[in-house]
């Protein structure tokens, strides 16, 4: 049977699209039944918890003598839950930078960059003109969240003087005023920090599975919510990377810590830090970086996707790309520096070929 005939025969068979749909109300009903089952299994899990906690306590006792353990405080904040509880329905899809205040009020900020500054007393200024008061809670921390979509960036100055550059496709959650014993923020995405020194209050960047602990230093954290890869690059000072139940990793300046949150593989290597932090000044520099890595970063920044053939994978390139340029300008620069041709196949999808 040749291909032509084969296709013809199958053309006469009912496609799934001709099959009856699951009616919308039954789809909802089914979803509720699933939710009911899930709540049951959650309850069963909770009932099992005491034994797990007991076992964990024993392990802790066994190892406490050997490692200086980062003791898990009982007043630990569940940031993932906090994010979920307060998430607004259009938060991830909006194309403006959004500041979400403690009362869940949302401020949308126009432009490609937002500058948000917190005063010591809870005064907030946005792009030097909007002023508002966020009252720091006496009993409980009060949180704000900055959501930066694709193709945008922001700079936050926190009450303690710490500066936070926030890259595109990133959400940061932080208290309006830090607690007396430690400074904690939570991030999904990429930030660069210049932490002001405070020996009495360590600064901790939480990312879900990994905590980065510092006293005062500059470093870059990349922990996208939808990818397993986490990277920390240290510019100066010292950071400790803490994973639950594991001995902490200590980074020295110019070192990159890369970690796969799924496989739990980690690697520390020496790098040119500018390759990792130049984005905060609006450009990317690359020295002998894999083209696939460069394209990955550009895709995230401009909110587009690239496909390439395997020969591109091992190509490296060096140079500097100005992120203030339009994507088309950036791609033209790339085409000039590497032997590649970039074509556009559909809206937001680009295909890269090696020049023949």
């Amino acid at each position: 049977m040749d291909t032509e005939e084969k296709l013809k025969f199958f053309d006469y068979i009912k496609k799934d699209t001709d099959m009856p749909d699951l009616p919308k109300e039954e789809e909802r009903e089914l979803w509720e039944r699933i939710g009911h089952l899930n709540r049951q299994s959650d309850r069963r899990r909770l009932r099992r918890l005491p034994t797990i906690v007991a076992a964990a306590a024993v392990c802790l006792l066994l190892v406490a003598g050997r490692y200086a353990f980062y003791d898990k405080a009982d007043d630990e904040v569940d940031y993932v839950a906090l994010m979920q509880e307060t998430e607004q329905h259009d938060e991830r899809t909006a194309d403006k930078i959004q500041l979400i205040l403690s009362d869940n009020k949302k401020i949308s900020i126009d432009g490609k960059e937002a500058k948000v500054i917190y005063g010591k007393t809870g005064r907030v200024s946005i792009n030097d003109h909007i002023d508002l008061e966020e009252l720091a809670g006496k009993e409980k921390e009060v949180y704000n969240r900055l959501v930066v979509p694709e193709n945008k960036r922001s700079l936050i100055t926190l009450g303690d003087g710490t500066k936070l550059w926030v890259n595109s496709s990133t959400r940061v959650l932080y208290p309006v005023a830090f607690r007396p014993d430690r400074r904690e923020i939570y991030v999904e995405g990429e930030i660069y920090l210049e932490v002001s020194r405070d020996e009495a209050r360590p600064f901790i960047v939480k990312t879900g599975q990994v905590d980065i602990r510092v006293l005062g230093t500059s470093f870059n954290v990349s922990a996208p919510a939808d990818e397993p890869d986490l990277q920390v690059v240290l510019v100066d000072g010292r950071v400790e990377i803490v994973r639950e139940g594991k001995e902490a990793d200590v980074l020295s300046p110019n070192q990159l810590f890369s970690y796969n949150r799924q496989t739990e593989r980690r690697l520390i290597s020496s790098v040119d830090v500018m390759d990792y932090i130049a984005w905060k000044d609006g450009y990317y520099t690359f020295s002998r970086q894999f083209l696939s890595v460069v394209l990955g970063k550009l895709g995230k920044y401009y909110g587009v996707r690239f496909t390439w053939d395997d020969r591109i994978k091992l190509m490296t390139c060096s140079g500097k790309l100005d992120l203030k340029d339009d994507l088309s300008e950036v791609l033209k620069t790339l085409e000039r520096t590497a032997p590649i041709i970039i074509g556009r196949t559909e809206e937001n999808v680009y295909t890269i070929h090696v020049k023949p």
Binding site: M1, E5, K6, L7, K8, F9, F10, D11, Y12, I13, K14, K15, D16, T17, D18, M19, P20, D21, L22, E26, E27, L30, W31, R33, I34, L37, N38, S41, V80, A81, Q84, E87, G208, Q209, A225, D226, E227, P228, Q262, R305
Partner: protein
Amino acid sequence: MQKEDESRRMWIRFLSGDNGAYEWLYTEHVGPLYRYGLHFGVGAEGVEDCIQEVFAGIYRNRKRQAVPEHVATYLMVSLKNCLLRSRQRIDRTREAETDGALDFLLEPTVEDTFIDNEQEENRRKAIEQILDLLTPRQKEILYYRYIRELEMEDVCRLMELSYQSAQNLIQRSLKKIRENFKKTPSDWV
């Protein structure tokens, strides 16, 4: 394939405890899964029960789950396994002498505008006759490969066959169609 990429991203978020991502996975996949399940001839209710089991199952086991290589196929395999298990339960209670295998339904298309057309009716009958000659597994594999147009890798997973055995089964099925396709009047193709 963009949908598959999105599904993988959502699956990672779901594993880290994001219930919004879990709901996204359900909403995105429930329709195609339902229509796929109907092919096994167990009725709408049986399919819905198994979809419930599949989604409650991935939630129950999310702490020890990995991200599947191909989300859509993974869900299809899970649904099929569930349908197979419930079929075996039914057979046991009825003490039926079956091997617990599932039928696989394929039907000719019916164009509403031609419903009274004799030629159309002949075409439909001829296709039906050819389909009747195929075993359930032959129909199933042809469905994956030529109607859903899945990659061989996914076809093998769904059929639990090695690449070579899957190829053989496809070739045998196509041969059967070819032999009978020739015998039928050519005016309907």
